[in-house]
Amino acid sequence: MEAVSIRLDRISKSFQHRVKGLVSAVSDVSLQIEPGEFLTLLGPSGCGKTTTLRMIAGFERPDQGRIYIGDEDVTDLMANQRNIGFVFQNYALFPHLSVYENVAYGLRVKGMEKAEIDKAVSEVLALVGLRGYERQFPHQLSGGEQQRVALARAVVIQPRVLLFDEPLSNLDAKLRVHMRGEIRRLQQALSITAVYVTHDQEEAMAISDRIAVMNAGKIMQTGRAEDLYLRPESTFVAQFIGKINILEAEVKGVKEGGLLLNLLGRDFQVASGHGSWKKGERLKVFVRPESWEIEEKREAEAFSGEILEKTFLGEKVDYLLKIDGQTISASVYDPFRHGTFTPGQKVGVKVQGQAIQVLRD
């Protein structure tokens, strides 16, 4: 089947909350998802990502705006008329039906022939690695197996789009990593357009073609994981994708496409980002913890710092350290190569100009 696009055109949705009254869950969201693309809606809880997904599915109707799947305006269609595959956070398997009957359900509803159903079900169960589980019931399966049944049930009807609502949040950490790989492979094998909701940035970065970061009912930024990490357009995105140190700097000079900044008493040549700045202005920049380099012997151009706290995590070591009266966090990877430092130790700290990013807001 040909993959289709999804287009959200300025959709909004409000809910009646028992305590807070009318709250806006999604406001004026527009989004274009390309055919065959895997797009993730990422954000903290309550940001409107699930509501957005449920509107695409047809479980909620937007108060305003239109939703298109392919060229078709589906805003007024019920969920059962949209031909979508939905994977729920709690799997929502039918507890009274066997694995076979769960998967066959959508095909029976369509009125498919018995022989065809048999064939389709056994194919899709093979695809998710559950052949032989036909007669089991949901409560006899492990969390990972239930997840696969939910996946099989969603794809067997050959939906136009696949929608995932935090499908991995009930699994343990190892299985989560494994399943996200399987979901990605399945989506690519079927070359189907997919929208995925999660609050886990690592999961989002691992699984998606593109990520839309949401906050307070709005999309803050849409882009590839790399773009969001390297060139966040807002403090919120910078903070949500990875960690940052926010520092104050002074503009010493303006050049074409770049700024000369004074940060913690040293000058750095940085990209200006957006906006225009004047000499002498003060602005905010961010540096990610992994951008700092810590050395035992301080070179001339390095800051002099003191280690305050150390957290050893194996692949990396997190430090809290003090430079010029400011507390910053730093992460040093590969302790074999860089060694570790102890609290109280005086160290040299370096950072490259490219790693300093000007914050817009």
Partner: protein, 570 residues
């Protein structure tokens, strides 16, 4: 995340209903039935009580309250209810605590459960009859065993004893659920903080069970207040209570108005209990605080000597209950209990000749009421949980009214409502069936609601996302999931049709009579052997039906489906 859709304004809800014809028709039909069989009789009762020549008057109520005899009956009813509530709750807690905390083996648990379920499925007189066989003028214990002379079985003491034995299983079931719901980790925690066993019980276990105790007390108080059969047989002349007074007023003195006013007086405490349960106790329940239930640890809160004491008391009481039933059976197969102990089948002969009509009538009424009750329960339960419509909460409350009221009130209200045009049903089977369906349907309704609330909305959404319309989703997903509630609903209607008497004693006629009424008649005619034989028959039939229903429940067992014992407890 999302709480509820913005469909809160009433006119929008109303329009939605209009757009959904099957919903609209179901609602109209249900309201018509609820109005006819619940509200209309109640209004008739109030009119009879407060209207005189087209004017409002308090004279009727004042007249009853001025009569020292009736005042005494009111006082006696409240006293009996309080005592039964207190003793029954204590006994129920003892059994529940033992069952949950004493690490019983499977066989002993089954023995306790069996002894406890017997009073729940018996016709209301059973313990009363056994009391007379045991403690009456020629009773096995008082006369033959102890040789006591001049012991009167009739009065407050026997009524209290009999009602406590009959109703404490309700407290047991309520409290067992509460105690089992207390996370053992909470008690372990108190231990780890250095408390003694007794202190843990006093400061943690008991306070957590308080809402359950209050609820059990109210349930027993209401059951005793409504009980008509036990006092009729055991209370005697010296201890009149309201339900029997109302009954005698109508059947003895043919004073319908007096009966109506008396039952109104009975309605006031019953209504207070209803309000307390609905708006006070239900809010006091402690929700399970932790997300994940603690591991089932070896429960350490009972020291060995206390465990033995608890077990001893429980088994003694269970054995006593079983003794009552053995006695009942024995009395049904001897010529004349207390005088002539030679074996005979003549009592059963009477049951299956002279009593055949009552058996047939009862089975027809129970058999017809059963499916109607089942359908009524799941339909109403489904609508009030899953659909949004105006008057939803009102419908739920009204559906519970006949269940909450003492049977005597319901019976007299039906008698008043359906004796005259526009709807004359007196003397028909319909009036008895309607009484049972609307009085005992609520158990099924509550089971339906409980099951539906456990079904995650995403299950129905999943069906929808797979292309199923709302009709298909209901038929293939929702309906199979609430099937246990259907069986529960029809099971309770059947069982109560076999065993109830307080409401229907006012509704029987020459055309349609009931086994329970025949038992009462045989008691008053002093044909105790026949009464015992009828009782044994009812217990056997009900037991067979329970087995059948349990079988169906197991067949359609869903995770989280109801247990038969819990259904009976409601």
């Amino acid at each position: 995340m999302p709480v509820s859709s913005v469909t809160a304004n009433p006119s929008d809800r109303f329009r939605r209903v209009l757009r959904d014809p099957p919903l609209l028709i179901s609602l109209l039909a249900l309201w018509l039935l609820l109005g006819l069989f619940i509200l209309f009789p109640l209004i008739k009762l109030l009119l009879r009580t407060f209207e005189e020549g087209g004017r409002f008057t308090l004279a009727n109520v004042a007249a009853i309250l001025a009569d020292p005899n009736q005042r005494q009956a009111l006082w006696n009813s409240l006293l009996l209810g309080t005592l039964v509530g207190g003793f029954g709750t204590a006994l129920g807690f003892l059994f529940a605590f033992t069952a949950v905390r004493a690490n019983l083996s499977k066989g002993w648990t089954a023995f306790l459960d069996g002894a406890i379920i017997l009073p729940l499925i018996s016709p209301p007189f059973t313990t009363a009859i056994a009391m007379i066989f045991s403690f009456g003028p020629r009773g096995l214990i008082t006369h033959d065993l102890l040789g006591v002379k001049g012991f009167t079985v009739y009065g407050l003491h026997s009524t209290l004893f009999s009602e406590t034995i009959t109703y404490f299983p309700i407290a047991y079931l309520t409290l067992k659920a509460i105690l089992a719901g207390i996370d053992p980790n909470v008690e372990d925690m108190a231990f780890s903080l250095g408390s003694s066993r007794w202190r843990v019980f006093r400061t943690v276990t008991l306070p957590l069970a308080v809402p359950g105790l209050a609820n059990a007390f109210l349930l027993l108080f209401a059951a005793s207040l409504a009980d008509f059969a036990t006092p009729l047989i055991l209370a005697g002349n010296s201890f009149p209570v309201l339900p029997t007074q109302a009954y005698l007023q109508i059947t003895g003195l043919f004073d319908l108005k007096g009966g109506a006013v008396l039952s109104f007086v009975l309605l006031i405490p019953a209504f207070v209990v209803f309000l307390l349960q609905r708006f006070w106790v239900s809010r006091k329940y402690y929700v399970t605080i932790t997300g994940k239930a603690g591991a089932a640890t070896e429960i350490k809160s009972v020291p060995p000597w206390a465990r033995h004491l608890l077990l001893g008391v429980c088994f003694a009481i269970s054995a006593f209950i079983l003794y009552f039933y053995v006695l009942l059976f024995y009395a049904s197969i001897v010529r004349a209990f207390g005088a002539d102990f030679s074996l005979t089948a003549k009592h059963y002969g009477v049951v299956f000749t002279e009593g055949l009509k009552a058996i047939r009538d009862t089975l027809i009424i129970a058999g017809v009421g059963m499916p109607i009750g089942g359908i009524y329960s799941i339909l109403l339960g489904y609508l009030v949980t899953k659909k949004v419509f105006p008057s939803r909460q009102a419908m739920e409350i009204v559906s519970m009214v006949n269940y909450s009221l003492p049977g005597t009130i319901v019976g007299i209200a039906y008698l008043l409502a359906f004796n005259d045009p526009p709807l004359v049903l007196t003397g028909t089977a319909i009036i008895i069936i309607a009484c049972y369906v609307f009085r005992y349907g609520p158990t099924g309704i509550r089971t339906t609601v409980a099951i539906l609330q456990q079904i995650d909305p995403s299950i129905e959404e999943a069906s929808s996302s797979l292309g199923a319309g709302s009709g298909t989703t209901f038929r293939r997903i929702t309906l199979p999931l609430i099937l246990p509630a259907f069986f529960a609903g029809l099971g309770v209607v059947f069982i109560r049709s076999m065993t109830a008497i307080s409401a229907t004693i006012f509704l029987i006629s020459i055309n349609w009579t009931l086994i329970t009424v025949r038992i009462l008649e045989k008691m008053t005619e002093l044909e105790l052997g026949v009464a015992a034989a009828f009782s044994v028959l009812v217990v056997v039939i009900v037991f067979a039906v329970i087995l059948a229903i349990s079988f169906f429940l197991r067949l359609f067992r869903q995770p989280g489906g109801p247990e038969m014992a819990n259904i009976l407890g409601g």
